[in-house]
Amino acid sequence: MLGRMLKGVSGRSAGKTIAVLFALILILSSLAVAGCAKKGGEPARKDTLIIALGTNISTPDNHYATGLPAIGANSEIGDVLFRLDANGNPIPWLAKSYEWSADKKTLTLTIRDNVKMQDGKTMTSEDVRYSLDRFVKYSIGKAALSMVTEIKAPDATHVTLTMKAPFDPLVRTLAYTTITIYSKASIDGKSKEEIASKNSPIAGPGPYKLVEFDPGDKMVLDAFPNYWAGKPQFKRVIFRMMPEMSSRIMALESGDVDLIDAISPQEADRLAKNSKLQVLNPPAAGIVRVYLNTQKGPLADKKVRQALYYAIDRESIVKNIFLGKAEVAHSFAPSGTFGYTGDYDVYKYDPEKAKQMLKDAGVTNLKFTVLHSPGRYILSQEVLEAMKADFAKIGVDMTIQNMEWGAFSAAIKLPLKDTKMEATLNWWRSVNGDADNAIADYASKYWPPGNNTPFFKNDQYDKLFDQEQSEVDTAKRGAELKEMQKILMDEVPAWVLYRQPNLWAARSDLQGVEISALSCLQPLYKASLKK
């Protein structure tokens, strides 16, 4: 039959042959397109909030999700035990209150009463215990709760977390968005594939429940009217995945979407002039820094690291590349975290001083290479190129080595004997509003393949760290954190550069949207359009 068809074709002219071939492909392709039928009963556009994120949401399940904006999106389904206020202090959320045991090794949470969940169940301590347990056992981010050895639900309203040694910031850590509480009944006993599927059964106590998850495309959520903190205003929230910044912006300008994340400072300035739009820049918890190999290579000498720090014009980077929308970082912890101090940043831009210090250290013709994976952090390539120019002014030659992300991640995890890393640009944050989380990795026991990328080793720091980690007295712990930051700023295992901008844009009548310092959307139940 096929033969006859094709023979028939061959008799005709070439143009017709192609036409027939294409008709064939057309039929095949339209069959494929027909697969996606439209769903009925959609709410009106004005009752729908459409958000475009640059990050891919790979799964609706926060215990397996990666990428902070994606985690924020997923946290509309589940919800968290605590939230952090603007100053990084924990606000009781699903947990109504907490109590420490006398030895500060056991934390008892009291669960909020009568919290309804999207699968019709009422949240109990067992749901919380199950979710925490699942997080600790399986989550990619489980290291955040690695100190917890036992989780129990002694009765219907209490959950206890037990640790080997005291860990003071635990309550703040529980506010980390990825530690999401779900309904046990909705996921227990179901396969991973089913939970990550298009029509995932996953349900939680959050303000919006999952309707449909289309990988790489969108996630559709409908209002959960019984949300414990208040009835959501929008009937539907749609998260769309739009990786290209310019496309997100144009989708916002054309009214296709209402809220977008991750825009550049340059575009933020342009959009701010549009009366139909607004730009949001909530404080960010992430700091961009250049890690320096403190054990071998040209930067192993502390004097050199200090000298070069003076040669970086951070003010100019923030002012000209970020148009003032980023912030010069003065410490290894983000400002606003518990225990933060910016008092030890003496490295005000001074190329003459830098030159002199290099001379005093007897260093000439200094050359080094910085590893970088482009496209991860906004404008990072421009920042490195600006630094290269700054260093050139004092006769130092910095080579920028761009690497593909997978290879980059492998290169910075090599142990000291194998590493060729001299310097590398990276980003670090505090997930729990506590300086501890931002600077803990400089303990020498975390050398690569751990997260102590600069191979930093300082006995005094290690001692302080051990003391701080098991400190029972919060005030004393704060003082120890400041002391640790002082050591870091003196030893310079990294050039701390700037606090990332956290730029979002929205239609101007959108209100009630809260965004965490980690670029996670907070529960959107208050979000609405101004009348």
């Binding site: 340059q266 342009r270 002012k319 000209n320 590349i321 482009p374 290269k388 761009n402 593909e404």
Partner: protein, 290 residues
């Protein structure tokens, strides 16, 4: 001695092929542009008004002025100077990767199409495999074996083009080998390899010349994309493709940052295409004006 060589040169210039090429005005324009770009690349330090690496952050993304006719990039570097220096890198990328593609693809495809049989089947299966290989994966392999950098990006782009040339020339050869003049050459006792390279290949070249001149542009743009993934030229190397793709994020606020490198790429492609047309006309009398 001198007179003889001059006469020989003159005769060379009067040969029918060169005459046909010279008649082709557009081709001369193309050649002129190529020479212009090449000279610009060679003399970049003399021609460029500023150093391509001189950054002045305070002038980030400044619009074109008389002093800086193409404006400034995100780091406050003169885009005109970067475009001029970029010619060095970008022309090399285009020519080398197309060169690699044709040098491997052409003989493989031609022989395969000409002799057919098991050899053809094997070559075409290899081509299938290569075609099925995502170019990005290919680039990552090349870079992880030879290390990152521009040369290896060119190698990756070139290899990715091999199957295209191989299939293209094979298709042409399949058609040409059935022509009467090929049979005639065989009947006259020409050995097979001579038939292939003297009669079949020259008559099959037209699509390859077109593809080759077109691939220059995609090679330059691919290099930019690989650079974006950290697999290509290392910053702050001025290179048209990466200037263009870096400018993408500023398309609305500072269009000049990507338009000018884009125009340079376009002109290069244009010139090679015009030149390619002329070349083919010169080599093949079938293309003369009717």
């Amino acid at each position: 001695m001198a007179a003889r060589s001059e006469r020989r040169g003159a005769r060379w210039l009067r040969s029918p092929a060169v005459r046909r090429f010279r008649q082709h005005k557009a081709a001369l324009v193309g050649l002129g542009l190529i020479i212009f770009f090449t000279l610009m690349a060679i003399a970049a330090p003399l021609v460029a008004p500023y150093s391509p690496d001189d950054a002045n952050l305070a002038q980030s993304l400044a619009a074109p002025t008389r002093a800086h006719p193409f404006g400034m990039d995100a780091l406050g570097r003169d885009i005109l100077s970067r475009c001029i220096f970029g010619a060095r890198i970008s022309l090399t990328i285009g020519l080398v990767s197309v060169g690699i593609g044709t040098l491997i693809g052409l003989p493989a495809g031609a022989v395969s199409g000409f002799i057919g049989g098991w050899f053809d089947r094997i070559v075409m299966r290899v081509v299938d495999i290569l075609l099925a290989f995502p170019p990005i994966l290919l680039a990552i392999i090349v870079v992880s074996i030879f290390g990152p950098g521009l040369q290896n990006a060119m190698l990756a782009i070139g290899i990715a083009q091999v199957p295209i040339y191989a299939r293209l020339i094979r298709a042409s050869v399949l058609k040409v080998r059935e022509e009467l003049y090929v049979d005639a050459a065989r009947a006259a006792g020409a050995p097979e390899w001579m038939v292939l390279f003297k009669h079949v290949v020259p008559n099959s070249l037209a699509p390859v010349v077109v593809q080759g001149t077109l691939s220059l542009a995609s090679a330059i743009l691919s290099a930019a994309y690989l650079g974006f993934l950290g697999l290509g030229a290392q910053p702050p190397t001025p290179e048209w493709g990466s200037m263009l793709s870096k400018g993408r994020d500023f398309l609305r606020v500072a269009p000049h940052a990507s338009i000018f490198p884009g125009v340079f790429i376009m002109l290069t492609v244009l010139s090679f295409n015009l030149f390619g047309d002329g070349l083919r006309n010169a080599l093949d009398p079938k293309f003369t004006k009717r």
